[in-house]
């Protein structure tokens, strides 16, 4: 939402609903509900500015990409060569598939117009007349809501030709993917959007210069684009007053797993997991935190000693991991770390696009070794071999999927090596009976098991 003067000003607390602020409104996904909350007013403001000034405002806000890498959004927009005669494109990355991440999908379900308004402003800024929203295919109701929002926006003159009487034209196509985690990687996404197998492209050229149809293209995450109306509507200074020195603004933290109230918590960057778990009612009753991911399964796991790490790009980096997509998956002491790592590795093996050998073959070997460790049939030297394989994949893969596949393994061995060693003789299911970890386990079941 983008209203500059909220009617009911409350107190500043650890949670700062901005993107999520409309989600509890009656039929929040409709244009009427969005406009009641001030929707599409920021678009008016933007259309009254020069495109370069919109880019400058987003730069000044300090917004950094919300899709995982944290690249400054305004700077990305400024890379579009405006002297290039080819058409410019905006592509929204709505492929949300990083295990643990669940923010873009609920955002598009509850408030698709926030995204659509952001798409118009961003396209105007980079002087694109066509934008694409690439939504993963496995979420049909979200696709319905985005399709409907785009249709409503056309009918109301927020899209199409001469938007708000400004003379600016924009066409938006909602495009459904077809099941491939790798299509979240921006160049693989472009391949998918061009009707090809989703395999990453060699860079350079970079998408800003030669992206979709070899034309200048900006690719941004849903939440990045959805943050733009608030930045334009309330000001860059307002946005950058939230967050930390180099990680400005707010974001949606996806809290899942063994906490009392998993869900979406929107807060300034820099909040800690301890604060978030407190807000979520604590770790599951009768249990304690064992390990967690700060930013999805591609980010190294952390433990209870990291509860007070500020969840911003710098803080999590200093703790040896990455902020990633703020996907906080919380596991308590009933959970086998070996089992989890095996399952994540199976995910990467399945999703490896097969283009390069270190990732394709490496993930296959990793699964072989982890499977025997999980079954208690590990062989001497298996842990070293896992580390060796990771060493060969990391930095030698064509894209970041391969690097990400090694994160859970090397970090889990760092903190829980003895559990991998136990895989030489004891199955994970014996050490950590899986029934105790389920959401439907009786309260207190298996508390303290294996620790």
């Amino acid at each position: 939402m983008s209203d500059a003067t909220p009617t009911d000003v409350g107190t500043a607390g650890p949670l700062t609903p901005v993107l999520t602020d409309t989600w509890d409104a009656e039929r929040s996904w409709t244009l009427a509900a969005y406009e009641r909350k001030g929707g599409y007013r920021a678009l008016d403001v933007a259309l009254g500015m020069a495109p370069d000034d919109v880019i400058a405002a987003v730069k000044d806000s300090g917004l950094r990409g919300r899709g995982g890498a944290g690249f400054p959004t305004g700077m990305k927009w400024s890379f579009i060569p405006q002297d290039n005669p080819k058409p410019k494109y905006l592509v929204v990355n709505a492929d949300e598939s990083e295990p643990g991440t669940c923010k873009d999908i609920p955002l598009m379900m509850a408030s698709p117009h926030t995204l659509v308004e952001g798409v118009v402003i961003a396209s105007y800024a980079i002087r694109a007349h066509r934008a694409f929203i690439y939504v993963r295919g496995e979420v049909v109701h979200v696709i319905r809501r985005v399709q409907a929002a785009v249709a409503e926006a056309y009918a109301a003159g927020h899209l199409g030709s001469d938007i708000h009487g400004s003379g600016y034209d924009l066409e938006v196509v909602v495009h459904a993917g077809a099941g491939a985690y790798i299509c979240g990687e921006e160049t693989a996404l472009l391949e998918g959007l061009e009707g090809r197998r989703g395999q990453p492209r060699l860079r350079p050229p970079f998408p800003a210069v030669a992206g979709l149809y070899a034309s200048p293209t900006v690719i941004n995450n849903v939440e990045s684009i959805a943050s733009v109306p608030a930045i334009i509507g309330r000001g860059a200074a307002w946005f950058s007053s939230l967050g930390t020195e180099k990680s400005k603004g707010f974001g949606i933290f996806s809290l899942s797993g063994h906490v009392e109230r998993p869900g979406a918590y929107e807060a300034p960057l820099g909040i800690t997991l301890r604060e978030l778990i407190d807000l979520a009612g604590g770790v599951r009753a009768g249990h304690g935190l064992k390990f967690w991911t700060p930013g999805g399964s591609s980010t190294p796991i952390l433990t209870a000693e990291h509860l007070d790490v500020p969840l911003d790009f710098e803080g999590v980096g200093a703790a040896g991991s990455m902020l990633g997509t703020r996907a906080l998956q919380v596991f308590d002491e009933t959970v086998s770390v070996v089992r989890c790592v095996l399952r994540w590795t199976e995910f990467y093996k399945h999703e490896s696009c097969g283009k390069c050998t270190p990732c394709r073959e490496g993930t296959w070997w990793l699964v072989q070794i982890l499977t025997r460790l999980d079954r208690g049939q590990g062989q001497p030297g298996d842990v070293e071999q896992l580390l060796d394989l990771c060493d060969n994949i990391l930095g030698r893969s064509f894209c970041a999927l391969g690097d990400g596949a090694t994160s859970p393994i090397t970090s889990a061995i760092r903190y829980f090596r003895e559990e991998f060693e136990a895989g030489m003789h004891t199955a994970s299911t014996e050490l950590f009976p899986p029934a105790a970890s389920t959401a439907f386990a009786p309260v207190g079941a298996g508390a303290g098991a294996g620790r």
């Binding site: 107190t11 999908i105 399709q147 459904a176 077809a178 149809y213 989890c340």
Partner: protein, 254 residues
């Protein structure tokens, strides 16, 4: 041969894009909505509409997991067995369903009603353990509720998504994915309780984002202090390994 109306719709999809081939993914969804899988005829039709070879279309169809070469049942029932859901009960749910239905992964019951599938993280981990029916969310399941769900589907009893509409068929879903809306966007809630968890607390305690000091589009005194000036500096500050391969860019171009 596909019906004429389908061929016309395939052309319509292709015409949405500056370059027709961009329509291929939605076109294959449309083929599935008519044929119940990606058939050789469907591949031929796409190839003809786009003026590319059937082998090229086939190469694309085999890359993406949502495209099925074997016939899918009336309902495609997915159980998320990626780590978080698996731990929270997805593994137990899949096992129970597999046993109850007498089918394994990617197999269909003899009555043709249900195809069971392990699915991967569907961006709903805060609702774990998560299931889907025809790619509609069925959240927070247990082995018992899952059995009840598939029994209802097999008996043709009406069921609703926990965050979406009344459940239709897999073919109907595939048509929406092809970009032909079914007019049911307004069914179901805006969000489930987990999506509202933080907002609910903020409302209870009166917490809001701070008001804007200077209103719309205030460019303000440049807050850019402490922000990187160049792409290289930005990439260095951006998030480690992933960022390096993704964003250590434009230096070479600019």
């Amino acid at each position: 041969m596909l019906p004429e109306t389908t061929i016309a719709e395939l052309r319509e999809i292709a015409s949405r894009y500056p370059e027709a081939r961009s329509g291929l993914l939605p076109m294959l969804h449309l083929v599935q909505s008519v044929e119940g899988r990606v058939t050789p005829e469907g591949i031929e039709a796409c190839a003809e509409v786009l003026g590319i070879s059937a082998a090229e279309v086939s190469g694309v169809a085999t890359f993406y997991t949502m495209y099925k070469r074997r016939p899918v049942g009336e309902h495609l029932v997915g159980v998320c067995t990626t780590t978080l859901c698996a731990v929270m009960g997805g593994d137990a749910i899949f096992e129970r369903l597999s046993e109850h239905l007498g089918v394994g992964n990617d197999e269909t019951t003899a009555d043709g009603r249900v195809t069971l599938e392990r699915i991967e993280c569907n961006a709903a981990c805060d609702y774990a353990p998560v299931m889907t029916v025809n790619w509609e969310f069925v959240d927070q399941q247990t082995p018992e509720s899952a059995v009840e769900l598939v029994d209802d589907l097999r008996a043709g009893r009406e069921r609703h998504s926990t965050r979406g509409p009344r459940l239709g068929t897999w073919k109907e879903t595939e048509r929406v994915l092809a970009g032909f809306p079914d007019g049911r966007a307004d069914e179901g809630p805006a969000a489930g309780a987990p999506s509202l968890a933080g907002l609910t607390i903020a409302r209870e305690r009166g917490w809001t984002a701070p008001p804007s000091p200077d209103g719309p589009a205030a460019l303000g005194p440049s807050s850019a202090a402490g922000q990187p000036e160049t792409a290289l500096a930005a990439a260095e500050e951006a998030d480690t390994a992933r960022a390096e391969s993704e964003t250590l860019q434009e230096e070479t171009d600019e």
